[in-house]
């Protein structure tokens, strides 16, 4: 494993996801500790840990929590974002399947810190085993006295409900998620107001990613200082990386921040399929900018390093792309996705995604025009910061990222009406 582990630190067995096994390996001790702490102390500990969000934006968790005013006399809500929909990302699924109690314990601690009576888990509708595992874990937790009127016999009361999505990418955006929980169309909302001021049912709401929350139990149990021992000072802890694409050993790996990227790719993950050369990686779900092999070389896997290289951690969904892969067709796949998933609420994204998709389709069909590349740039630019949620921006980043670095492939495709690299998306075996 690349570096030290916080979450994947136990052997997966047939029963490792159950309450008994979780308690046996020290589970729910953090909750007991948290129940003896004041809510303010819990938040202070999380702030001190420097934990960043693992959903994509890497926003400091403590800062998000700090906005919620504990004494404002209104109900607060906690919502776990388990609508893991960023292409290339399947790390939350690991937690939900193998460590559901870690999430539940962390949610209880967060609920305690934020004075939340009702917690929600908004789960991707396509998740089957994760749903069954989490639902079973919730039943166990209720039976074990961890949820309900008296959590572990204390005066703290907390309930939890799983809400399942219906297959929309945009519902993974925090405010779209809350609209969906409310039973409305999963349209993201305009800010202001922030969700921590007016979120679910117009009440202060904290929405955190599954993996983000799952770190909380460890932080409370071992203390913020212990957590900060891992990773980098500005980016402490670990990241579950779901690596896929042209890689020998795809899967979910827990990577300690600061771990060398090359080492991770070639030692831990076994290198590129069929011994090929690396062309580029998409480091954190398709909405992050692509990094060429040369750019990857000096990098370590952490926020600072990736941002310096012009990309970001994203959601940890790393896609590895081998040489001989056609970037035009890759972009086509990505734009088809964005077109299909645009919710259609605000103008630039609704119209722009379809426009870009049609242009790239035209290029791939051999009808590309010389001005098409500039048009893709222009549409991306006009989606940057002009939409309600981040989806328009994300599609733009992804497009610009690929166009900047592989413009020659697009020009070749337009001029010769065929791919420079045979149009392959699969790694071609020699």
């Amino acid at each position: 494993m690349p570096g030290r582990q916080l979450i994947m630190n136990f052997p997966v067995t047939a029963t490792s996801h159950t309450l008994a096994d979780y308690v046996a390996r020290g589970g729910y001790q953090a909750l007991a500790k948290a129940l003896a702490m004041t809510p303010q102390d819990i938040t202070r500990e999380v702030v001190a840990s420097g934990l960043l969000g693992h959903g994509g934006a890497a926003f400091p968790v403590g800062r998000k929590w700090g906005v919620v005013k504990l004494d404002d006399g209104q109900p607060h809500f906690l919502c776990t974002n388990a609508d893991e929909g960023e292409p290339g990302t399947f790390k939350d699924r690991w937690i939900l399947e193998h460590a559901p109690h870690l999430l539940l314990e962390s949610m209880l601690i967060a609920a305690r810190a934020l004075q939340v009576r009702n917690c929600f888990v908004y789960m991707r509708g396509e998740f089957d085993l994760p749903y069954r595992r989490l639902a079973a874990a919730i039943e166990e937790a209720y039976a074990g006295g961890y949820f309900g009127e008296k959590v572990c016999g204390s005066d703290f009361a907390c309930d939890i409900v799983i809400i399942r999505g219906a297959g929309s990418y945009v519902c993974g955006e925090a405010s779209g998620l809350l609209s969906s929980v409310e039973g409305k169309r999963g349209y993201p909302r305009n800010r202001p107001p922030r969700l921590t001021v007016k979120g679910l049912f117009q009440r202060p709401t904290v929405v955190n990613n599954v993996e983000t929350l799952s770190n909380v139990a460890g932080i409370i149990r071992d203390g913020a200082e212990a957590f900060k021992q891992l990773g980098k000072p500005k980016c402490p802890g670990t990241q579950l990386v779901s690596i896929s694409g042209h890689i020998e050993k795809p899967g979910v790996y827990e990577v300690e921040y600061g771990y060398p990227l090359q080492k991770f790719l070639f030692d831990d993950c076994g290198g590129i399929t069929g011994g090929k050369k690396l062309k580029c990686i998409i480091p954190g779900g398709i909405s992050t900018k692509v990094l060429t092999a040369a750019e990857c070389e000096p990098l370590t896997y952490d926020k600072e390093s990736l941002e310096k290289a012009g990309s970001s951690l994203g959601s940890g969904g790393m896609i590895v792309i081998a040489e001989d892969t056609c970037m035009v067709r890759l972009l086509q796949v990505m734009l088809r996705f964005y077109h299909h998933e645009s919710c259609g609420q605000c103008t630039p994204c609704r119209e722009g995604m379809g426009w870009m998709h049609k242009i790239i389709d035209r290029i791939v069909a051999g009808d590309g025009r010389r001005e098409d590349i500039d048009r893709l740039y222009a549409i991306s630019a006009l989606n940057d910061g002009t939409t309600i949620c981040g989806m328009g921006d994300a599609a733009g980043y992804a497009t610009v990222g690929i166009l900047n670095k592989y413009r020659d492939e697009f020009e070749y495709f337009i001029e010769h009406k065929r791919s420079k690299l045979g149009g392959n998306l699969e790694a071609v075996h020699a």
Binding site: N190, P192, E341, G344, C346, T347, M353, K358, L382, T386
Partner: protein, 478 residues
């Protein structure tokens, strides 16, 4: 009262305003599609962008609360560029079929395109095809290709009319406005307002469909007589300069459509569907000649006869109209006072199935001026009139009174506007003008007085009730 700066000019904003509201109120126009002053903020059209001074990005003004010292630019290069882009995005899949669109001439998209874009579409990809002529209700048709998905109509049915009749299905550029179920919009007594608030020609009124180009029409301020709310309306009819001789004369004096005229004190920007159907009331067959016992006579002869009958009667009763204007009621009072026992009547009662009353606008009293009729003539209602025993003359003004209830031997003077069997039964029938032919005022149920203007000239053979009452007044003849 925070002070903000729009394009460098100081503006006193209200505490709970947004930048868009403050800007519009102080004459700094910012274009917008989805925002509406009476609806919640959707922020989806992305047209009302402004640039925070010193920043290199834009934000939408409709969702930007004002704060002390805030500085925004509404006309900077980046704002212009973004607006232009948004208009390009919107016309990307809009059919631009203005030539056959009823909204042309009063279409926000059209206006903004000329004002803020002015360029041809830069797109050369095929447009998204969608459904056209979707009958959302008996009254409204929808063209999904023209729809820009601003969601004003959806918000209207959720927040104002509360019918929840409309929603958006599918997603992305295939999003479709639809009624949530068949007939949902038919059950909305205010549904036609969505046609007015639609910034483009997606929602169209079926009765008005392809009836007129709006630039041939002109609005005349009026008051809706359909109930005692007295909503401010505009009655649209052909402009005098566009009255063509080779058109059917009826076309030239027809009510083309009725739209609300925003009056925050009475109706805000809304009216009910009944108010849109004034043509059904005002364009019934008109009585245009005076009669004595069914025999046509000159108007002056009929008035002379009426005077004579009044002078000769001993016990006179008048049943006055609650559709008379304040001025007419005052003239009637002047003419009848002291000589007549008076009752006011409801000229119109709710038809079967007509919505009676709700929390938004509709009132159970389906007459515009019951308030003034009551204050002028007292509380005696003609619903249960008690005629004095020796009544020998009854003056009936307006519709809605059954002549069978009149004392058998009494002579009848009838002031009416429409063809009716009663006209011939009256001893004297005097045809009078209708609301669209005269000016006047109504007092609504809450005491708010609103005025209306004439849309058309009355026929020479028809009298204004005010003039009739003036000449029926007692005292020496001129």
């Amino acid at each position: 009262m925070p002070e903000i700066f729009i394009n460098g000019q100081s503006v006193q904003a209200e505490d709970d305003e947004t930048v868009l509201q403050a800007a519009l109120r102080t004459g700094h126009y910012i274009p917008y599609f989805c925002w509406h002053k009476s609806l919640s903020i959707a922020g989806n059209c992305r047209l009302c962008v402004v640039q925070p001074e010193g920043k290199n990005w834009v934000e939408i003004a409709c969702n930007m609360p004002v704060s002390e010292g805030m500085r925004v630019l509404t006309d900077s290069d980046i704002v212009k560029k973004n607006r232009k882009a948004t208009l390009q995005f919107i016309t990307l899949n809009h059919p631009v079929d203005c030539g056959i669109c009823d909204k042309a001439g009063e279409c926000t998209l059209q206006d903004y395109h000329f004002e803020y874009n002015g360029e041809r579409s830069i797109s050369d990809v095929p447009k998204v095809k969608s459904t056209k002529y979707v009958e959302l209700s008996e009254r409204i048709v929808l063209d999904n290709e023209r729809c820009i998905l601003c969601s004003r109509c959806v918000r209207f049915t959720r927040e104002i009319s509360k019918s929840n009749a409309l929603g958006i299905k599918q997603r992305g550029d295939e999003s479709l406005l639809r009624a949530v179920e068949d007939g949902a919009l038919d059950r909305d007594a205010y549904s036609d307002n969505v046609v007015d608030i639609c910034p483009v020609g997606a929602l169209l009124s079926k009765p008005f469909l392809h009836k007129a180009r709006v630039w041939y029409l002109k609005p005349t301020r009026s008051v809706c007589p359909s109930c005692s709310r007295g909503c401010a309306i505009d009655i649209w009819h052909r402009k005098p300069e566009w009255k063509l001789r080779n058109l059917d004369p009826k076309e030239n004096t027809a009510i083309a459509r009725v739209t609300p005229h925003d009056n925050p004190e009475v109706n805000g920007p809304w009216i009910c569907n009944k108010g849109r159907d004034l043509a059904q009331i005002f364009e019934r067959a008109r009585a245009d000649g005076a009669m004595l016992k069914g025999k046509p006579v000159e108007l002056s002869a009929a008035i002379e006869m009426a005077r004579r009958l009044i002078d000769g009667a001993r016990q006179r009763v008048a049943i006055v109209s609650s559709w008379g204007s304040n001025e007419e009621l005052a003239a009637a009072k002047e003419a009848l006072a002291g000589r007549f026992a008076t009752f006011f009547k409801a000229d119109r009662v709710a038809e079967e199935g007509e919505p009676l009353q709700d929390d938004l606008l509709l009132r159970a009293d389906k007459n515009p001026n019951t308030t003034a009729a009551r204050t002028t003539f007292g509380d005696a209602s003609a619903a249960a009139p008690t005629f004095p025993a020796d009544t020998d003359l009854v003056l009936v003004w307006g519709e809605g009174f059954d002549f069978a209830r009149l004392p058998a031997k009494a002579r009848i003077i009838f002031l009416g506007s429409y063809l009716a069997p009663e006209n011939g039964h009256a001893d004297v029938f005097i045809p009078i003008s209708i609301q669209t032919e005269r000016a006047g005022h109504y007092t609504n149920f809450a005491g708010v007085v609103s005025g209306f203007e004439p849309c058309f000239a009355k026929a020479p053979s028809v009298a204004h009730a005010e003039a009739v009452f003036a000449s029926l007044a007692g005292g020496p003849r001129s």
